[in-house]
Symmetry: C2
Subunit: 393 residues, 2 copies
């Protein structure tokens, strides 16, 4: 059997490095052909030495120039967003892991789809913003999209051998984040540090805030809807603070299939590469007796309005989903810079969503223009809020 | 699509009547052709009126004679064990549900296999006693065996689309029974009523005692070993008092798939009939928020030695598994008649197992002769114990 040739978009991030760990465990099964990073020059250099890819890309042009001076031999050094697109469609690659952060994942994912690659999708924003465009392209070019997100990998595994028409309900589990159990007024004035203190998963800053607002779960409703071609009313979120069950599918006969185990992203990463096969993976074994208990709660959508808005957007479909993502992106960025308060995130997104005119069957251009509009609109509203608060003080 | 033609061996018992409820919910999908009972004449009469089968059987010959006087038209009334065998191979039947209690299920199951029926297996003893014989016959005649036991149906569903070679471990969940948490000395002198008070499942007397001793789980280790062609060391039992997860499979990549939901045997019964398809079933929906929590404990195999012996027998294979079942049958019968004490069950089975000379690759005759020997041996040991106790008093 020939080794599976892999390109990783975002090889220096959390998913990227864990993908490389999976590759390290199976040198005969996997071969790295392409690596890309936004600006982490040093780590990328180390990865180049170790994996000797055919091509690499740094989105940061200046750093790419610096890298060119260091790279020996026949390695192609690409740069900028066009370099990322080129990396995504790199000819000798079989499977592209899209692990870049944020909306910049959409275009290279579409490039990889057009090049008929198998896509290991770790970039949530791609489907939230561009769901209709991406799924249509995947269908047209016959590209397979396999989820890497732990919840969607769980659903993907629960659906193995099953017929999606026999789904009664997809049950997305949700840790509840650091503010689980809090009421709306208790979230006034919570700090960035409190919001970044996620109880179960260690992840990047943006996604950790999305977990604190439950927007992350709202996005996942959208992702699941596109990945499994079900309507949003068949997708439900349930709080499961231990995050042991990664998600479930209930079927029309009342039977429920769940995927669970150790919190280790290498499991869904490897499964995306090997499915429908499974191969050994060296991860800590899950111990039920040690775990002791799993608990469940209903999500509080009045307090965590981001989840509610995520579900609403999924029911509406169209550009509003992209607006949800772009507005959230902008607001979370401002929160991480200490420019706004935690609850400003959800209040602002609500205003932006309300102001948006939804395009139900969008083209890529519609999506990109909605994205741009939402970012601008969000910034303006945030500025008004901040000014208002300053004037009060 | 033609309706699936069903024969139920043991139609008046718990599994039998629930199978008929599934049939009632889908009159176009299923058609009853054969019904059999041990001696429940009145209920069988009612079922005959409702389902108008081609053939019926009462194992009790006198009651069969009585039934013959009442049955009108062209319904064949069979009787005795030979009648049960004939019912099992009845020509117009596609699927045979073997829901008879105890060891009498072995022969008719083999008859159904030889007639190339699909088998919905609800009779545990068939595989525990006759595993090697039954599985060899199923292979030879190309008959499919689908489990109805909730744990094995769970495993069967978890393995959908998977490769059994990629199994790391089968995890059988176990409610722990009414004596969970008790130490050995606390089980001295427990009454039949205490043992029959199962915390989660309502079942017949014999299987409820088997759940109290954990022999039921020991049997299930044997069943899983035969059904999924794995060695006993890949099967583990874990106590899960809420019985919501019905069993799980861990794969070589560390991923765990579980089947869970409402405690309702109609789910595995219907799945045995429709798999790989699922069709709607009217059962109470499972509510995670209401369930609140799942807990897990390690089984105490010093106190519940029946589980330990079940695992030992599975590791040894051969006629010792049949001896385990026959000795347990005899001892539980005596306990249900108040002739012996609760702990006599496990102590006696241990003595009988120790005295047995295992035949590793048994024929049907070896199995039947081991069964006979074990019942006799068990009775003798129980008699000695009772006499000894009487003399002490």
């Amino acid at each position: 059997m020939n080794a599976q040739r892999i390109g990783i978009l975002g090889s220096t991030g959390s998913i990227g490095t864990q993908t490389l760990n999976v590759v390290d465990q199976h040198p005969r099964e996997f071969l790295i052909k392409v690596l890309t990073a936004h600006s982490s020059l040093d780590l990328l250099k180390t990865q180049i030495e170790k994996y000797k890819p055919e091509a690499v890309c740094l989105v940061d042009e200046a750093k790419a120039d610096e890298l060119k001076k260091h790279v020996k031999g026949s390695i192609h050094v690409l740069s900028g967003y066009s370099g990322l697109d080129e990396a995504a469609r790199w000819e000798s690659v079989d499977t592209v892991i899209t692990a870049v952060v944020g909306n910049i994942g959409l275009k290279p994912t579409l490039e990889a789809i057009k090049a008929k690659k198998k896509i290991g999708l770790a970039n949530k924003e791609t489907l939230v913003s561009g769901g209709p465009v991406v799924m249509e392209a995947a269908k047209k070019y016959g590209a397979e999209i396999v989820p890497i997100d732990s919840e969607h990998s769980a659903i993907f595994q629960c659906l193995k051998g099953e017929n999606v028409k026999e789904i009664e309900k997809i049950i997305l589990t949700c840790s509840g984040g650091p503010f689980r159990g809090k009421k709306l007024h208790e979230l006034e004035g919570v700090t960035k540090e409190q919001a970044l203190n996620h109880p179960t998963w260690k992840m990047g800053g943006k996604i950790t805030i999305d977990s604190a607002t439950l927007m992350n779960k709202g996005f996942e409703v959208n992702e699941a809807m596109w990945l499994y071609d079900v309507t949003a009313d068949k997708i439900e979120a349930v709080i499961h603070p231990q995050s042991i069950i990664h998600s479930m599918v209930e079927f029309v006969d009342g039977s429920i299939i769940a995927q669970l185990g150790t919190h280790d992203m290498r499991i869904p990463i490897q499964y995306a590469l090997t499915h429908p096969k499974r191969i050994p993976l060296n991860v800590p074994k899950f111990d039920f007796v040690h775990a002791k208990q799993f608990t469940f709660e209903k999500p509080d959508m009045e307090t965590f309005e981001c989840l509610k808005m995520g579900i609403e957007a999924a029911r509406m479909r169209g550009t509003v989903c992209c607006v949800l993502n772009a507005s959230n992106d902008t607001a979370v960025e401002a929160f991480l810079k200490n420019e706004i308060e935690f609850l400003d995130i959800q209040h602002t997104i609500r205003e932006v969503m309300n102001a948006h005119k939804n395009v139900h069957h969008p083209t890529l251009e519609d999506v990109l223009s909605a994205d741009k509009w939402a970012r601008k609109e969000t910034k303006e509203i945030l500025m008004q809020k901040t000014d208002l608060r300053k004037n009060k003080v």
